[in-house]
Amino acid sequence: MLNISHYTKTYPGGKTAVEDLTLHVSPGEICGFIGRNGAGKTTTLRAVAGVMGFTEGTITIAGRDVQKDPVGAKSVTAFLPDNPDLYEFMSGIEYVNFIADLYAIPSKARQERIGRYGEAFGLTSDLGSPLAGYSHGMKQKLALISALIREPQLLILDEPFVGLDPAASHLLKGYLGDICARGGAVFFSTHVLEVAEKLCHTIAIIQDGRLIRHGPTAEVVGDGSLEDVFLGLTERGEGQ
């Protein structure tokens, strides 16, 4: 589903944020992307989502090259940044409808999906209100609804559990499973290692822009915990 091959991102000032990263996420797989602050997680996720260009390498989503066919790649993807700023001059329903228009979701299908996800996240009664009055958690939920109604083949999430209440977090975990059951894939970053350990089929650990570990969760974790493995790897990396 997602193929990242020798991806390198160098910023105009000359700083290399990510170097020669190669990663594969198969259909039906949830891949957790973990690393310290500034390790290059968000830069990679933004490049995969087609929101940011990159210097070297290729990224393909369901066979579509992110740089050569950006529209094709984006049409099967949904991306949520860590702090989703939304259009505050719109109401919730206007925003979701705007996203549905961009992704050409037919009227009947969008009505059904907005109703379903709105009810599930307990947001239906607030959809008519202006986004300017939404709390952080409500905005996070609305952004998730706008991603889920697209029924994406690849869902890219940057710190999706931050700001969500426990019920919404539980719900989201279920929906991630549904996407995989449909043959899609999920690629997300998180600092909550317990969640990553329980939820993800594969784990990728990035340190200073380089992928230092990638594989099935059970293989990466071994007999210990993901926290022990992560701290061990990143401290060793720092020591070197």
Binding site: V71, Y87, A100, Y103, I114
Partner: protein, 526 residues
């Protein structure tokens, strides 16, 4: 005091940063360039008006009245341009929570935010009043170091007047907006009402000047109540240190009093303004599908009509254009008489030039990308080519311009008896010019984006892109008018404007090509 200075420095740094002053040499050069362009144009306009008015007043022996009229005009302009900024900066702003969480009194926070507003008004006042002082000196009204000192001091005090008025109006607008709901038409109505009231005051001022010129008012007649502060200013600057001090102290007391009253409930006021009414009941069956391009267009419309500061800063010319067309139809007889008296002026050239000047103030796209701010990820992640997104943004400006242009152009052509051919060419030239301004505004905004401003007001009013796109469009309108004037020596006005329309359309094609290639690339790299 120390805390106030620290906070004020932050607010002023934000202002300078929006103007792109500071940072790298290239960035600072572009910021200073935009500022110099704006300052040059403002000085030219106020200097032209001051010297023209000064000449007439000198002939009537009432030169000192120049220092009553120009400050009044400065205050009117300051209020017009900063009232909405007060709403957006003082009673809103993305840093409000951060500032109110600091161990600093609310009065200090409010005053520090007002300081940025004051600086803007000070610039307005300097541009209006200093040329008036120069004109007074030129026409023999006297000068000298003491006069210059009183002039500068008076202007520093004068800027407090529009600041306190803008503070009051900004609060009122915010309060009404919060109480009446967030419907876009309410925002629109409030903005039009504010502009209408200020324009009415300007017209009354203009009427007073006309009456004075026509000899209907005595030179020493009692000044109206609203003009009393300006009388104090005038007499203070012209020699009375006491009156100058009284004027300054009065203005300062007014500002501090207003700030103290608002600061007492500043937190509650901000909370109240931020509290929004819940929307009505949701009918999912009313949710209808549209294409991606139409969705972006509707989003642009929602942004434009839902952001008062954006609407007012770029919509004034669009309001004036149909108003001028309707006025031309209603006052056709008087206009014809006036034109017959004047004789010899190239009416078709000036009519089209006026239309273009009105259109040049509608620099909608000049801040369209900056206003995306932190929500830019939504459009960049959308399955639409970046070039198409930019084209829709440009199309929105032309779409909102077209009805105003049709009404205004047709009315002006009818009222001035320009003939149907010139009327059609006038509308065509207007459309071509509007397209040029829209595409050029996008180019400028892509080159000078401001995505992290603390408020929409900072982007729309103070960003380098907004200033460059507006003033460059004004310069382009002037250049087109001059070119048409020159061409009428060789061909008819219709042919001259027809030719210029083709030139503008060719420029549109070139800009469109740039946006589809280089512009799209820049958009994705922002």
């Amino acid at each position: 005091m120390k805390k106030f200075l620290v906070l004020t420095r932050v607010q002023l740094r934000a202002l300078l940063s929006t103007l792109r002053i500071g940072g790298s040499r290239k960035r600072a050069a572009s910021g200073w360039g935009a500022l110099a362009l704006a300052a040059g144009l403002c000085l030219y306009l106020s200097g032209f008006y001051s010297f023209a008015l000064g000449g007439q007043l000198a002939a009537l022996g009432a030169l000192d009245l120049l220092l009553l009229m120009m400050p009044a005009a400065a205050v009117a302009a300051g209020v017009l341009f900063t009232a909405l900024a007060a709403q957006a900066v003082v009673f809103s702003g993305r840093d409000s929570d951060l500032l109110l969480a600091l161990p600093v009194p609310a009065l200090t926070v409010l005053l520090s935010k007002t300081a940025a507003l004051y600086v803007e008004n000070l610039v307005f006042c300097l541009f209006f009043v200093l040329p008036a002082g120069a004109a007074r000196w030129w026409f023999g009204g006297g000068g000298g170091a003491a006069f210059a000192l009183r002039m500068v001091l008076g202007t520093v005090f004068l800027a407090l007047v529009p600041t306190v008025l803008a503070l009051g109006i900004g609060f009122l607008l915010g309060w009404l907006g919060a109480r009446l709901g967030s419907r876009r038409w309410i925002n629109l109505a409030l903005c039009v009402l504010t502009a209408g009231v200020v324009l009415l005051l300007v017209l009354r001022l203009n009427g007073a000047v006309s009456a004075l010129m026509a000899g209907e008012l005595g030179m020493d007649s009692d000044v109206p109540f609203w003009a009393l502060p300006f009388r104090f200013f005038q007499e203070g600057v012209c020699g009375s240190w006491g009156k100058l001090a009284l004027f300054g102290l009065g203005a300062l007391a007014l500002l501090l009093g207003a700030a103290a009253v608002l600061a007492g409930r500043y937190r509650q006021v901000l909370t109240g303004l931020k509290a929004r009414r819940r929307g009505g009941s949701l009918r999912l069956d009313r949710v209808q599908a549209a294409g991606p391009r139409r969705a972006v267009l509707r989003k642009e419309a929602a942004r434009y009509f839902g952001t008062p500061i954006y609407l007012m800063n770029t919509g004034l010319g669009l309001i004036l254009l149909p108003a001028a067309g309707i006025a031309a139809v209603v006052m056709k007889g008087r206009l014809q008489g006036l034109l017959a008296q004047m004789g010899g002026i190239p009416v078709p050239v000036l009519a089209a030039g006026t239309v273009l000047l009105c259109l040049s103030t509608a620099a909608v796209t000049g801040s369209s990308i900056s206003l995306e701010g932190k929500t830019l990820w939504i459009l960049r992640g959308a399955p639409l080519p970046a070039g198409e997104i930019l084209e829709v943004k440009a199309a929105f400006q032309v779409l909102i311009t077209a009805p105003c242009l049709l009404v205004g152009g047709a009315g002006i052509a009818w009222g001035l008896d320009l003939g149907w051919a010139m009327g059609a060419v006038l509308v065509l030239a207007g459309l071509a010019f509007s397209g040029f301004c829209a595409l050029f505004g996008l180019l400028v905004n892509l080159c000078f984006p401001r995505l992290d401003a603390i408020s929409d007001a900072a982007v729309v009013k103070q960003s380098a892109a907004a200033m460059i796109s507006t003033f460059a469009a004004m310069a382009a309108a002037a250049a087109c008018t001059l070119a048409a004037w020159g061409l009428t020596a060789l061909v008819s006005p219709e042919a001259a404007w027809g030719f210029l329309s083709l030139v503008l359309l060719a420029l549109c094609a070139a800009l469109d090509r740039w946006l589809a290639t280089q512009g799209a690339k820049r958009f994705l790299e922002l």
